[in-house]
């Protein structure tokens, strides 16, 4: 749900954008073509205006020609004759031009034909009169009736034509005006549409922008908090490390100093036996035996505690061939192996970064346990298998011993806990605690696999690299 909602909204916004853009495009296209047409119409209007002026010029030329001719008839001055000829030429030139303009404007040339006939006739009449005057060198009839008629016809025709063209121009002007208004309207509408579109996008996108800004802010907050938490965790780790060191030191000091009074007790018991032993009755001897057993056990416990506190204390980690660790452990266990005729199979192990003395002790403890907790009369069969994955080796030690009951499972890793009745199996109940500590020193875990029909399997992991150095470097950086 949550993921599809923004998607749908985006689709909607996209559609609106496309529609808006299309409308704008159409409007601009219409405005553009409109403007092009306005240009064409304006050209036509210009041509029409030129035609109208030409027509006026024709009339002026005809009239000038006529008046110059008349002046020549009266004065027979050749200057007037030249002016007449010039006017005639002008009239015909303008007429040709007007014809061309009509062709350009694609108008019927019927009326111009009529005009040409009239003008030609007119000038023919005038030419005739000039010729006769020059021949007789006398004044001819000034204005004939037919000639006056011709002039009227020419004037009328030209006026009619001019009128038509003027109307045409007025009409074109109106059209241009209308089209200008249309363009302006379209542009104005486009402007509104554009604003509308922008507003739409703004209303649609503003919440998104807000959301993004908020989520960025939230993420920044989270990053800050995570950084604070990390710093706190680092401080905690430091504190824990120093606490651990303190504890180790405490265990060392405690176990060391506990030995002193213990030694005093056993020393004086010894002295007592030496000097007063001959006076002891049976009861006294029993008491002394109990005291001796207790001090012996306590000495052993303290020694183990001391050793426990010293695991990984003295030496730096180094390259360790686990096969050598197992080999050393087997050498140390030789007496029990021979006594029990245990059969031990070890799969080839990898090298790791670790503490050699502790690793040997680890194998010695686990293999020793496997042999020790096999019922009398059964030959211990022990296999050591392993697999390496992601800088971690997982090692299984499987035996065919007495196994570990459900009740005992929770207790076996506790220090000094023994799950068998006193005397059934020898030991201090510290072996597995040692093992776990050594494994933790190598960033690993010790577990007991679910009970099988016979025997038990201890599984533990060891890091093939020691990360401690790197972590330390990070902290000091």
């Amino acid at each position: 749900m949550k993921t599809s909602e923004p998607h749908q909204r985006q689709q909607k916004i996209l559609r609106a954008l496309i529609a808006g853009a299309l409308v704008l495009l159409v409007m601009f296209a219409v405005a553009f073509f409109n403007q092009l047409r306005i240009g064409t119409i304006r050209d036509t209007a210009g041509d029409t205006l030129g035609l109208e002026r030409n027509l006026a010029a024709i009339l002026t030329a005809v009239k000038e020609g006529e008046s110059s001719e008349r002046a020549f008839l009266l004065t027979t001055d050749d200057a007037y004759l030249a002016a007449y000829k010039n006017g005639k030429q002008q009239a015909f030139n303008n007429l040709t031009e007007a014809r061309q303009q009509l062709t350009v404007l694609q108008r019927p040339s019927l009326s111009i034909d009529t005009l040409q006939v009239a003008i030609t006739e007119k000038f023919a009449t005038l030419d005739q009169r000039v010729a006769s005057v020059r021949a007789s060198a006398a004044n001819g009839p000034l204005v004939a009736e037919a000639d006056r008629k011709l002039t009227a016809q020419i004037t009328h025709t030209i006026n009619r034509l001019s009128e038509g063209e003027r109307r045409q121009i007025a009409e074109l002007r109106t059209r241009i005006d209308r089209m200008h208004k249309l363009t302006a309207g379209l542009l104005l509408f486009s402007l509104f549409a554009l604003f509308g579109l922008i507003y739409y996008l703004y209303t649609r996108y503003y919440p998104l922008v807000l959301q993004v800004a908020q989520s960025i802010e939230r993420r920044d907050d989270e990053i800050d908090q995570r950084r604070i938490a990390e710093a706190r965790a680092l401080t905690l780790i430091d504190a824990l490390k120093s606490k651990n060191k303190e504890l180790d030191h405490f265990a060392y000091i405690a176990s060391h100093d506990l030995q002193e009074p213990l030694r005093t007790v056993s020393n004086f018991i010894e002295l007592l036996e030496e000097e007063q032993g001959h006076n002891f009755n049976e009861d006294a001897n029993t008491y002394v035996n109990f005291i001796n057993q207790a001090t012996d056990r306590m000495r052993e416990l303290i020694t183990q505690l001391l050793r426990y506190s010293q695991i990984g204390r003295d030496d730096e980690s180094q390259r360790v061939d686990l096969n050598e660790s197992v080999a050393m452990a087997l050498i140390n266990l030789r007496p029990v192996i021979q006594e029990s005729s245990a059969r031990i199979t070890v799969q080839l192990l990898p090298n790791i970064e670790g503490h050699p003395v502790e690793l040997t002790e680890l194998f010695q403890n686990l293999l020793g346990n496997a042999i020790k907790f096999t019922p009398p009369g059964r030959v211990p069969i022990i296999t050591v298998t392993n697999s390496v994955k992601n800088n971690e080796v997982t090692i299984d030690i499987t035996d065919n011993g007495i196994g570990i009951t459900k009740v005992a499972r929770g207790k076996i890793f506790n220090m000094f806990s023994k799950v068998h009745p006193s005397g059934a199996y020898q030991g201090h109940g510290i072996g597995l605690t040692f093992c776990r500590r050594i494994i933790e020193l190598h960033s690993g875990r010790l577990t007991l696999l679910p009970a099988a029909e016979i025997g038990s399997t201890f599984r533990f992991t060891l890091d093939t690299y020691v990360y401690e150095k790197e972590i330390k470097a990070d902290i000091t950086d």
Partner: protein
């Protein structure tokens, strides 16, 4: 009557250890007197204390504990080295506690006059074998 040592010096902060050691030394009956000092400083003061006739106490045998307050066994040995010969004993023996035995034995290699290490508490057999080793003439005349 057999010949005895003139004096044995015990340097140890543990009252109970001193008690036991003194008692056992007395039991084997090899010395006329047993002196106990609680730390290296007291022992040095005792050894350097001048007697009439330009004489010094000069016990024949010293049993030295290592782990002591004020001045421990090692510090004592450093100072002892600087003493005049007539202030020194004939034999100095270090007594070690089991817990620190290994590291102490390593360290003791730096001290020439310590070749023997004893583990506390001393037994009567230990005492007899020490006398036999360092003072054979006492045993002969017995």
């Amino acid at each position: 009557m057999k010949k005895k040592l003139k004096q044995i010096l015990l340097i140890d902060d543990s009252v109970s250890d001193n008690f036991i050691h003194a008692r056992r030394i007395r039991n084997v009956n090899v010395t006329e007197s047993i002196i106990t000092k609680k730390n290296g400083r007291e022992a040095l003061d005792y050894l350097t204390e001048e007697l009439p006739n330009n004489q010094y106490q000069q016990p024949e045998l010293i049993f030295l504990d290592i782990n002591m307050p004020v001045m421990n066994g090692w510090e004592f040995l450093d100072e002892y080295d600087k003493l005049m010969d007539k202030q020194k004993a004939l034999v100095v023996l270090a007594m070690l506690t089991t817990s620190t035995a290994e590291s102490d034995k390593e360290k003791a290699k730096n001290y020439g006059h310590l070749s023997t290490f004893l583990e506390k508490p001393l037994k009567e057999e230990d005492l007899l074998s020490i006398i036999q080793k360092h003072f054979p003439r006492l045993m002969e005349e017995e």
